[in-house]
């Protein structure tokens, strides 16, 4: 057999990312100050982001693809990982888990996401997904001395494994049906053989829906999210609420829009009730939460429901809006979590909604930032959240789903209640006790970046919108 060394150009970012993660892991043995590792990771990610520019192409015999679509998602992952690392630096010290492998795991997880976004083959997809998931399971239980954190990790692991079984089952059925795991080849085979009405194909589409639905926390596969988000370290909750979700959307978009494009009608019909249920469960159950992390968990479920509308459009415009939405979501959600980590201090959890009472009087700047993020999550102009929702709703209307948008807007209106309740607590109630904020330069930078991004995207959206549109071209 003639072995030819594959073109590694398209995969260079992933390679470097892995190398950085390994270096962090090794350097952890030598370096006492873990902040250095964090800064090294950020610098490394910046370098990886730079290598993205020239990395487009297909390699490993068509199993790995780097295109505009994957690059855009990788940018989301970088925003996610950089902001999460920034808010972690001080936070994990307070939680007394200031270990170096924390950063290594975050980097490995991000590498997994990147591989998912670039997967042109179901096996590669599975590989990336497992790398991401396994790292995240550990991160969720990173506060070893906290029973809630342990519980979160175990639940996440068990249910994650369960959902992976669905994925593997789906992959094996597709392989049995088409004799290939290559996403493009699957599409070709289905259309050539006229398998659109095939029952096994439909079955495997549903199995994929379950597995991906789990990753993006869509109802009814969302049950793990509130428990895991609440128990995990807050910085990891921020990380998980954006990264794995975005990665899930990346593979959902690629598999459904490429491999299963000829059975569009079927999976759209499946996704519509799922998105309605997701928005409904997310927004309604969030109303009655008293723990802010749990509330944001339900909020993140609801946002997955909105983003699903972009997939439901089943066209490039919808995908572009979905990507745009996820990027915006990364900034506003991690921004909100950054404020939450600041409330955590020695001997004070700061996770209860009532802890926010009168924050505007005691810490006006932090309250103002939280206000911006809450407005953005609600979707009030001129914040980025408005732009995200506007474009996603607009593409859904253009695709003919006006009634679905009406439902989404109603749920969006309901969501104002629980987001603005935080604002109300901060601005209209008297502080009951003095909350000391844990401030650190890195959290400050993360907050500043997130807030500026939310406002700038809200006022000058065309840059991001055009970027997403350009990324989707030739998909």
């Amino acid at each position: 057999m003639n072995f030819q060394f594959p073109d590694i150009g398209p995969v260079i970012p992933e390679l470097i990312m892995t190398a950085i993660a390994l270096i962090v892991l090794l350097a952890d043995l030598l370096i006492k100050k873990k902040e250095v590792l964090a800064l090294f990771s950020i610098a490394g990610i910046a370098a990886v982001a730079y290598t993205l520019i020239g990395s487009s192409g297909v390699t490993f015999g068509g199993m790995f693809i780097s295109d505009g679509y994957s690059t855009f998602f990788k940018l989301i992952f970088f925003v996610n990982v950089i902001l999460s690392v920034l808010i972690s630096i001080k936070y994990i010290v307070i939680e007394k888990v200031n270990f170096g492998e924390y950063y290594a795991l975050i980097l490995f997880s991000t590498t997994g996401m990147m591989i998912m976004a670039s997967a042109a083959d179901l096996i590669v997809l599975y590989l990336g997904l497992e790398l991401m998931a396994l790292s995240t399971y550990v991160l969720a239980g990173f506060i070893r001395h906290d029973i809630k954190s342990n519980e979160a990790a175990l639940k996440y692991f068990l249910l994650g494994a369960f959902s992976t079984a669905f994925l593997l089952y789906g992959i094996s059925m597709i392989y049995g049906l088409t004799g290939t795991t290559n996403i493009k080849a699957i599409a070709l085979y289905i259309s050539e053989k006229g398998l659109t009405g095939n029952l096994s194909l439909l079955l495997s589409v549903i199995l994929f829906t379950v597995a991906f639905g789990f990753k993006i926390a869509a109802a009814p596969f969302h049950m793990w999210a509130p428990d895991v988000y609440e128990g995990a370290p807050t910085s990891i909750t921020a990380f998980m609420s954006v990264g794995p979700k975005a990665a899930g959307f990346a593979v959902l978009g690629r598999v459904f829009m490429v491999a299963f494009v000829s059975v569009k009608v079927d999976w759209v019909a499946i996704l519509i009730p799922i998105s309605i249920l997701t928005m409904g469960v997310g927004n309604i159950v969030a109303l009655s939460q008293t723990n802010i992390k749990r509330m944001l968990a339900y909020s993140s479920i609801a946002h997955a429901g909105y983003a699903l509308l972009g997939i439901i459009c089943a066209n490039n415009e919808g995908l572009a809006s979905m990507m745009n939405y996820l990027m915006i979501y990364a900034f506003m959600n991690i921004g909100a979590f950054a404020v939450i980590t600041m409330l955590r201090s020695e001997g004070f959890r700061g996770e209860d909604i009532t802890d926010y009472e009168g924050l505007a009087k005691t810490h006006p700047l932090s309250a103002a930032l939280m206000l911006i993020f809450m407005f953005s999550l609600t979707g009030i102009p001129p914040t980025a959240g408005f732009i995200g929702k506007l474009y996603i709703f607009m593409s859904a209307i253009n695709a003919g789903y006006t009634w679905l948008v009406v439902i989404a807007v109603i749920f969006s209106a309901i969501s104002a209640y629980f987001y603005l309740r935080i604002v109300m607590y901060m601005y209209m109630k008297e502080p009951k006790e003095v909350v000391t904020l844990t401030k650190s330069p890195s959290t400050g930078i993360a907050l500043g970046v997130a807030a500026v991004a939310v406002l700038v995207i809200g006022i000058f959206p065309s840059f991001l919108v055009d970027l997403a549109r350009a990324a989707i071209k030739g998909f």
Partner: protein, 640 residues
């Protein structure tokens, strides 16, 4: 011409700085930030004016916020002669009034807040004037309304002030509702909100009608009248004039800037800007002319008997705004804008003088309790007289040229109501001269009628207040000289300058007629002053006897024709009654609270169910995932 961008954004920057840092950092120096910014804007506005005079214009989008199909929301600027005039008016008045405010607002608790809002207002007003599309116009329009609300209710601990703020806001809702509808119809008709394509395609819809409430209404007329609704609200014309007198609860510099010189003239600007629309609808023009003329006369009669110094000037503002609309209605847009421009100077001057008087009198507003202030405050007195001569249309002063141009163009206009509105305008001119000098004679002449304590405190205002008065009085005299009519040997430069935007009105009349109209206005102006002098200097018993003998007329005028009472009776009270008994008593208590309490109860139950589902047990969760999968599979197979 790229530097023009700084004109609105300097005040915006000042607002941001002041609102963020004013309280902690700038404190009693907060005025510097705002004043430097607005003076900067003024200088650039002057440079822009020269550019425009040299023939440059500009119409470009700065950036696009949202694109959705054919809908495009963009920030764009249009710099043409009309904009240039507005820029000069806004930045000049804003600069001088803010400088004056250093003295007037000195020592106020919310000093930085005041200047921050003044900057924000200036920004919004400039955005409104510089816009090249209806959406940004609407943004600026609502923005100035919001600032007006903030500043009327500046002394928010005073109930009357916060009520007045609310009143202004609510009354403006009525007008803006129509305005908003007008903008929407423009978009639906033309598929764009930019002025240029809309105006260019306007002739294409002439003759089109829409079916409305059983009538066929011309589309052009409908658009024009809806836009005019907004103008009526913002510029306080009948029947939406009621908010402006109450708006005097705000600090006097606010009254001068927002409720005299700039914001309230936005309606006139809107009509002038949309002249290509109004020109195509005779009905709309007649409505505009009549509304203006009737308001001019109506407000002037109320001003005759009021006692509150600021309210008299407020009614005078309403009346003068009426003139501007009168001019626009007969197609003399340039004359309307000319009056807007001269009015800004003399009316800002009159308000600031009134503020100076209040400053000396310890906040007293009732002119019956003043008198003889001439010797205590000579600068205020002199400038007040100059402003009043200007508003009375005495030849040589700014007000004369603009008012005379409006009246002449009304008289000579082919508009069927031209002569009628000229007559109303001329009567109003007589009344204007009368009430303006009644105010002066009661305030500055005769004996002091206030308390001893007040008399003891009487003093001229500090320089920082009197210098803006002097500068404005120069404007009140000389501002009109740029528009001296051909008849008097001038070049009518102002109208020529605006001709490219606003066109040239048709005038059918001879030179003799023009002399006659001018002569009549001068005569009524002088006789108004003369009568005021006779009644309030020589025979002070006459006003008292008149009030007694014609008490019903006097009371009607003093109570402003009972319009507020009428609204209270027909709108406010029924609304409150409905709100209390139907909305709160029934809809709220039964329906909404039923839903509000019922839904949470339902959600509570639902939550309870979900909480049972959300057991925290992993195998339950796994079961649900599996059940979900099976459910979808079953459904998919069944529905095949």
């Amino acid at each position: 011409m790229e530097y023009y961008l700084l004109i609105p954004f300097l005040p915006l920057a000042a607002f941001i700085l002041n609102i963020l840092l004013g309280k902690e950092v700038f404190r009693e120096k907060a005025h510097w930030v705002s004043i430097l910014a607005v003076v900067g804007s003024f200088i650039i506005a002057v440079a822009t004016l020269f550019d425009v005079i040299s023939g440059k214009t500009l119409n470009e989008d700065l950036y696009t916020w949202i694109v959705s199909g054919t809908f495009k929301a963009s920030v764009g600027f249009l710099i043409d002669p009309l904009t240039a005039v507005m820029l000069i008016v806004v930045t000049t008045c804003s600069s001088l009034i803010q400088i004056y405010s250093i003295g007037y607002m000195h020592g106020d608790k919310g000093y930085y807040r005041f200047f921050a809002y003044m900057s924000l207002f200036t920004f919004c007003m400039l955005m409104l004037a510089m816009s090249n599309n209806f959406l940004q116009l609407y943004f600026g329009w609502e923005g100035v309304g919001l600032c007006s609300y903030f500043l009327i209710g500046y002394y928010f601990h005073k109930k009357s002030a916060s009520d007045a703020g609310k009143k202004a806001f609510i009354v403006n809702r009525f007008g803006d509702f129509g305005f908003g509808l007008g903008v929407i119809i423009v978009f639906l008709t033309f598929g764009t909100l930019h002025y240029l394509p809309v105006f260019n395609n306007m002739t294409g819809i002439v003759g089109k009608t829409v079916h409305l409430l059983g009538f066929d209404v011309s589309l052009v007329t409908l658009i024009a009248l809806l836009l005019f609704c907004g103008a009526v609200g913002k510029s306080a014309q009948i029947p939406l004039h009621v908010w402006l007198p109450d708006a005097m609860e705000g600090p006097t510099p606010v009254s001068a800037l927002i409720h005299a010189a700039t914001m309230v003239t936005a309606g006139v600007f809107l009509v002038a800007r949309c002249s290509p629309i109004f020109n195509l609808s005779e009905v709309a023009l007649i409505v505009v002319a009549l509304t203006g003329a009737i308001t001019a006369l109506f407000a002037a009669t109320i001003a005759l008997v009021q006692k509150d110094i600021k309210r008299i000037i407020a009614y005078s503002t309403i009346s003068q705004l009426g003139y501007m609309f009168l001019g626009c209605g007969v197609g003399a847009y340039a004359a309307g804008i000319f009056h807007l421009y001269t009015h800004a100077f003399f009316k800002a001057l009159l308000f600031l003088c009134a503020g100076s008087v209040m400053h000396a009198m310890g906040g007293e507003l009732n002119i019956q309790k003043m008198g003889g202030l001439k010797k205590y405050m000579p600068v205020t007195y002199l400038t007040f007289v100059l402003g009043s001569l200007s508003i009375s249309g005495i030849p040589g002063f700014a007000g004369f040229f603009s008012k005379d141009e409006i009246l002449w163009l009304a008289y000579s206009s082919p508009n069927p109501v031209g002569k009628f509105v000229w007559l109303l305008g001329t009567i109003a001119a007589f009344l204007t001269a009368f009430y303006s000098f009644r105010l002066i004679f009661l305030t500055f002449h005769g004996k002091f009628r206030g308390t001893h304590e007040q008399e003891h405190h009487l003093h001229e205002s500090p320089k920082v207040m009197t210098i803006p008065l002097i500068l404005l009085s120069i404007g009140a005299i000389a501002a009109g000289w740029v528009g001296i009519p051909h008849l008097l040997g001038g070049g009518a430069h102002f109208a020529e300058f605006l001709k490219s935007v606003l066109g040239h009105p048709e005038a059918h009349g001879t030179h003799n007629e023009e002399w006659m109209v001018m002569g009549i206005s001068v005569i009524v102006g002088l006789s108004g002053i003369g009568l005021a002098a006779y009644m309030y200097l020589a025979r002070t018993d006459i006003p008292v006897r008149l009030a007694k003998n014609f008490s019903s007329i006097y009371r009607t005028l003093f109570n402003k024709y009972y319009v507020d009472e009428l609204y209270s009776f027909t709108i406010v009270r029924p609304t409150l009654w409905t709100a209390k008994n139907i909305l709160i008593g029934f809809t709220d208590a039964k329906i909404i609270e039923g839903i509000v309490n019922g839904v949470p109860r339902l959600i509570g139950k639902f939550s309870g169910m979900l909480r049972k589902v959300q057991t925290g047990l992993v195998h339950h969760y796994a079961t649900i995932i599996a059940a979900g999968a099976f459910f979808i599979i079953a459904l998919a197979i069944l529905l095949r």
